[in-house]
C-alpha cells in the first residue's frame, strides 16, 4: 500500500523528506508570513513614526506638567508643606530666589512663566522680571525683597497657582478645553460666559459635519445612480467631471469659491443681472457658515460619489425590473428593493465625509469668517500661534475620543462590516 511509506509508526503523516508534514507546512507558512511582514514593514514604520508616535506624544503633552517641578525644584520642595492659608514663610522665599537665579542663568525660567501664564494672566512677566531682578539679591531675608520686586507676589492666588502646578501631571489643559478653570480658591468652576469657546466649537463642528454629510448624500445619490446606469461612454465623461475637481489642489478650489461667492463675485453679479437681488443688498455667501458649507460640500462630494458608485455598479438592473414586473410601483421598488442594497455605500461615504469634515481646517480658515470656523482651526491656532501645545493636545485628544466614540456607535448600530468602499 502506498500510504504505508508516507506514514510513520505512530500515525504522523510525513513529507517527502521524512519530516512530519505538519511541521514542514508550518515552516512554509511561517516563511510566507515573514515575507508579508517584511513587505508591510516600511508602511508600519511609517505609520508608527508619522502617526502613532506623534499622537501619543501630543496626548502626553496634554497632561504633562514638568515645568515648575523641574525648573523650580527648591520652591517645589519648600511648598510641599505649605498649608495654603496665607503668604508663605521666609524659607519658601529663599528657595524661590535660588530657583529664580538658577533659571535666569540657565535661561529656562521663561518656560515656567509661559506655563503659569496659561493659568493666570500676568504671571509670565511676574516670573521673568523677578528672575531678572533676582540676580542682584545676595543675602536674606528675602521675603520683603521679593515682595517688593512684583506686587503679585503678595497675592495668595499666585502661590495657590504655583503650588498646584508643582505636580508633574495636570488636568488644567483638559479643564481649559472644556471651558472650565480653577477659581481663586482652587475649586473647579465654569469659565465666565465671555471666555467659553471650545464647547460651542465642538458642537458646531459636529453639527456642520453632519449637515455636510447629509447634503453630500442627497447630492451624490442621483449622480452616482446616473454614473452607474448610463452607457459607458457617457458615464466615463461624467466620471471625469466628478474626478477633475478631486484632482485639483484644495487651495485652488477654495479660492475659486471665494471668486464665485463673494459679494462682488460671479454668482452675485448674475443675481443682480437677473434681478433676483438688489445691487445694494448683495447676498453674503462667503466668510460665513454658508461659505464653509458650500465649499466643504463641494470638496468632499467625491468621497461620497465614489463609494456609492462602486456599490451601485454591482446591483444588477434585473432586480428592479423583477420588482416592477411583480407589481411594485417604481417608488416602492426603489425604496424596498434598490435602496437597501446601496446602504453599505451610503454608510461608507457618510463615515468618510463625516470624519474628514470633523478634522477640516484649511477651507473653514479661508472662507469661514467667524461663524464658519471649526474646532480644528482652534487646534491649529494653539499649535502654530499661541504655542499652547498642551491645550492643542487636550483638544485633539477630545476630538479623537469623540470620533472613536462615534465610530463605536456606528459599528453597534450599522455594523462596520456593512461598509463598502468599492
Amino acid at each position: 500500500m502506498g500510504m504505508a511509506a508516507d506514514t510513520a509508526d505512530n500515525g504522523v503523516v510525513l513529507a517527502a523528506d521524512g519530516r512530519p508534514l505538519k511541521d514542514s507546512l508550518n515552516r512554509a507558512l511561517r516563511k510566507n508570513r515573514m515575507r508579508a511582514v517584511m513587505l508591510v514593514a516600511p508602511l508600519l514604520l511609517f505609520v508608527l513614526f508619522s502617526f502613532l508616535i506623534p499622537i501619543f506624544n501630543m496626548t502626553l503633552r496634554s497632561v504633562d506638567n514638568w515645568h515648575v517641578g523641574t525648573l523650580m525644584p527648591a520652591t517645589t520642595a519648600a511648598l510641599a508643606t505649605w498649608d495654603g492659608k496665607d503668604i508663605p514663610e521666609e524659607s519658601v522665599f529663599a528657595a524661590l530666589v535660588v530657583d529664580l537665579q538658577a533659571g535666569a542663568k540657565s535661561r529656562q525660567i521663561g518656560k515656567v512663566g509661559t506655563r503659569l501664564n496659561y493659568e493666570k494672566s500676568g504671571m509670565r512677566s511676574m516670573i521673568t522680571s523677578s528672575a531678572r531682578k533676582s540676580k542682584k539679591l545676595t543675602s536674606g531675608p528675602y521675603k520683603a525683597k521679593v515682595l517688593k520686586m512684583h506686587k503679585k507676589w503678595k497675592d495668595l492666588e499666585t502661590w495657590t497657582v504655583i503650588k498646584r502646578n508643582t505636580a508633574p501631571y495636570t488636568v488644567g489643559y483638559y479643564l481649559n478645553a472644556l471651558d472650565m478653570k480653577y477659581d481663586k480658591t482652587g475649586e473647579i468652576v465654569m469659565q465666565p460666559e465671555n471666555r467659553r469657546i471650545y464647547g460651542k466649537l465642538f458642537w458646531r463642528t459636529f453639527a456642520i459635519s453632519l449637515a455636510i454629510t447629509m447634503i453630500c448624500v442627497v447630492l451624490a445619490y442621483p449622480i452616482s445612480f446616473l454614473l452607474a446606469t448610463l452607457p459607458l461612454r457617457y458615464s466615463n465623461l461624467l466620471m471625469i467631471f466628478v474626478l477633475l475637481p478631486f484632482w485639483t489642489s484644495l487651495l485652488v478650489r477654495t479660492t475659486a469659491w471665494i471668486a464665485m461667492l463673494q459679494s462682488q463675485g460671479v454668482l452675485n453679479d448674475l443675481f443682480v443681472f437677473f434681478g433676483f437681488v438688489d445691487d445694494q443688498n448683495r447676498l453674503q455667501l462667503i466668510h460665513n457658515l454658508t461659505g464653509t458649507i458650500i465649499a466643504m460640500t463641494h470638496i468632499l462630494l467625491p468621497f461620497m460619489v465614489l463609494p456609492l458608485y462602486s456599490v451601485m455598479k454591482t446591483i444588477p438592473p434585473t432586480y428592479m425590473r423583477a420588482a416592477l414586473s411583480l407589481g411594485a410601483n417604481p417608488f416602492v421598488a426603489f425604496v424596498r428593493v434598490y435602496m437597501p442594497q446601496t446602504l453599505s455605500g451610503i454608510g461608507a461615504g457618510s463615515v468618510l465625509v463625516f470624519i474628514l469634515s470633523i478634522g477640516y481646517y484649511i477651507t473653514p480658515a479661508l472662507v469661514g469668517g467667524t461663524d464658519g470656523t471649526l474646532i480644528s482651526n482652534q487646534i491649529a491656532y494653539h499649535m502654530q500661534s499661541s504655542l499652547n501645545w498642551g491645550l492643542a493636545g487636550a483638544l485633539g485628544a477630545l476630538l479623537l475620543a469623540s470620533v472613536l466614540a462615534l465610530y463605536f456607535l456606528y459599528n453597534k448600530i450599522v455594523g462596520i462590516d456593512n461598509m463598502k468602499l468599492g
Binding site: 514593514a41 514604520l45 535661561r107 501664564n117 496659561y118 504671571m123 512677566s125 465671555n194 467667524t370
Partner: protein, 363 residues
C-alpha cells in the same frame, strides 16, 4: 530584504528627525524671514552684498511668523534655522525660553559711521530684548478706498467706527491685538492712556463694547495679503494692514487707496540668532554686517519700512525701481499720530485676550 528594511527604517527615522529640512553645507547660512516683498528687500540689501563680500551662500527661507518651528527645532536638538526675522514680542518670549542667543549690542554689532556706539544708534525703546537686533519699524495702519464716499474723506480712527457717515465693510485682523487699542482710541481714550485703561476690567469691557458697534460690518482677515485684495475688489472700504503692503498697492499697483495714518500702531521687527545654531560664528558675522547703517538704509530703497538705526534715517533715498522719494511713505514720519505697541502687556495678556476675543466672535 534586510538591507532594504534597514534602509527604509533609516530613511523614515531621518525624515522624522530632520523634519524634511536639510542642513546647510559649509559656507552656507539659513536665514528665515516673512517672504514676499519684505524678503526681497533683504535679499537685495543684505544677502547679495554679503555673499559678494564673503562668498558665503545665504539660503533664504520663508515662514509665516510665530515661534512654533523654532521651538520644535530647539526641542528636537536639530536646529537648522540660523538667523530668524521675528517681531519683538516673539523675540522676548523666545529669549526668556532660551531659544535665542543673547547679543552684546556694543561688542558684537557695528558702530554708526560717526563712531556712535550701536546701543545709542538704534532708535529709543527698540532694544527691548537682549537677544533681539531691530531692523525696521513698521506699522499696522488703516487705509481706505478713496472713491467710497464721494468727496468725503475719513480723518481719524473715529471715522472707522462711524458706520453712518462712512458706510461699508471694514476688514480687520482676526485678533484682539491693535483692535482693542483702536476701539478705546475711537471711544475717546487719549493715546498715552490706552494701556492703562486696557489693564482694568472695565477698560477691557469698554473696548469689546466699542468693537461690538461695528462687528456686523467687519470682514476678519488672517493673512496680510488679504486686506489690499478686499479693498481692490470693492469688498471692503476700510482695511487694516501692514504699511508696506499698502505702499505697494498704492505706489506700485496704482490702486485708488489712501492712508489713514491716525492711530497707526508701530511695531519693531528684527533678527535673532538661534542659541543652538551650528554656524554661530558665521551667523554673528552675517548679523553684524546686515544690521549696519548702510544695509538698513539700503533696505528702505525696496520697501517702505523705517530703518531702526538713527544714522540710517538721513540716508533713506528713492525707491530703487519707481524712483519716488521714500521719506513720505515711512511710518516713522507719522510716529506722532500713532503709538508703539506695548509688547509687555500683550506678552502677559494675549492668552486670555485671544480666548476672550474668540468667544466674543462666537456670540
Amino acid at each position: 530584504m534586510n538591507k532594504l528594511l534597514k534602509n527604509s527604517a533609516l530613511t523614515v527615522a531621518a525624515l522624522a528627525i530632520a523634519g524634511m529640512t536639510t542642513a546647510p553645507q559649509a559656507g552656507e547660512l539659513n536665514v528665515v524671514s516673512w517672504g514676499g516683498a519684505y524678503t526681497t528687500s533683504q535679499i537685495k540689501a543684505y544677502h547679495e552684498p554679503y555673499t559678494k563680500m564673503t562668498g558665503t551662500k545665504i539660503n533664504s527661507i520663508d515662514y509665516s511668523g510665530g515661534l512654533a518651528e523654532m521651538r520644535a527645532q530647539t526641542e528636537s536638538g536639530n536646529v537648522t534655522w540660523d538667523v530668524v526675522d521675528v517681531v519683538i514680542a516673539d523675540a522676548i518670549v523666545g529669549c526668556d525660553e532660551g531659544m535665542f542667543r543673547p547679543i552684546n549690542v556694543d561688542m558684537e554689532l557695528a558702530k554708526a559711521p560717526d563712531g556712535t556706539a550701536a546701543s545709542k544708534d538704534f532708535l529709543d525703546g527698540t532694544l527691548k530684548s537682549e537677544c533681539f537686533v531691530p531692523l525696521i519699524i513698521y506699522s499696522t495702519v488703516f487705509a481706505y478706498r478713496d472713491d467710497a464716499w464721494g468727496g468725503k474723506k475719513p480723518t481719524s480712527i473715529r471715522d472707522v467706527f462711524d458706520t453712518k457717515n462712512f458706510p461699508g465693510k471694514r476688514t480687520l485682523q482676526k485678533s484682539p491685538v491693535n483692535n482693542l487699542e483702536w476701539a478705546l482710541l475711537a471711544d475717546g481714550v487719549p493715546l498715552a492712556k490706552i494701556y492703562d485703561v486696557l489693564d482694568t476690567d472695565e477698560g477691557k469691557d469698554r473696548a469689546f463694547a466699542k468693537l461690538a458697534t461695528i462687528k456686523k460690518d467687519v470682514i476678519w482677515w488672517t493673512v496680510g495679503a488679504v486686506p489690499p485684495q478686499l479693498l481692490a475688489d470693492g469688498e471692503a472700504v476700510f482695511g487694516t494692514g501692514y504699511n508696506g503692503r499698502w505702499f505697494s498697492a498704492i505706489a506700485e499697483e496704482k490702486q485708488p487707496f489712501a492712508m489713514l495714518w491716525d492711530g497707526q500702531v508701530l511695531d519693531i521687527d528684527g533678527y535673532v540668532v538661534s542659541a543652538k545654531s551650528k554656524k554661530l560664528d558665521e551667523a554673528m558675522k552675517y548679523l553684524k554686517f546686515s544690521t549696519d547703517t548702510q544695509r538698513l538704509a539700503d533696505q528702505a530703497k525696496y520697501i517702505s519700512y523705517g530703518p531702526a538705526r538713527k544714522s540710517s534715517g538721513p540716508m533713506v533715498s528713492k525707491h530703487a525701481v519707481l524712483g519716488i522719494d521714500m521719506g513720505p511713505h515711512m511710518p516713522t514720519k507719522y510716529a506722532d499720530q500713532g503709538f508703539l505697541t506695548n509688547f509687555k502687556w500683550w506678552a502677559d495678556n494675549s492668552d486670555e485676550m485671544k480666548e476672550r476675543f474668540a468667544a466674543w466672535l462666537l456670540q
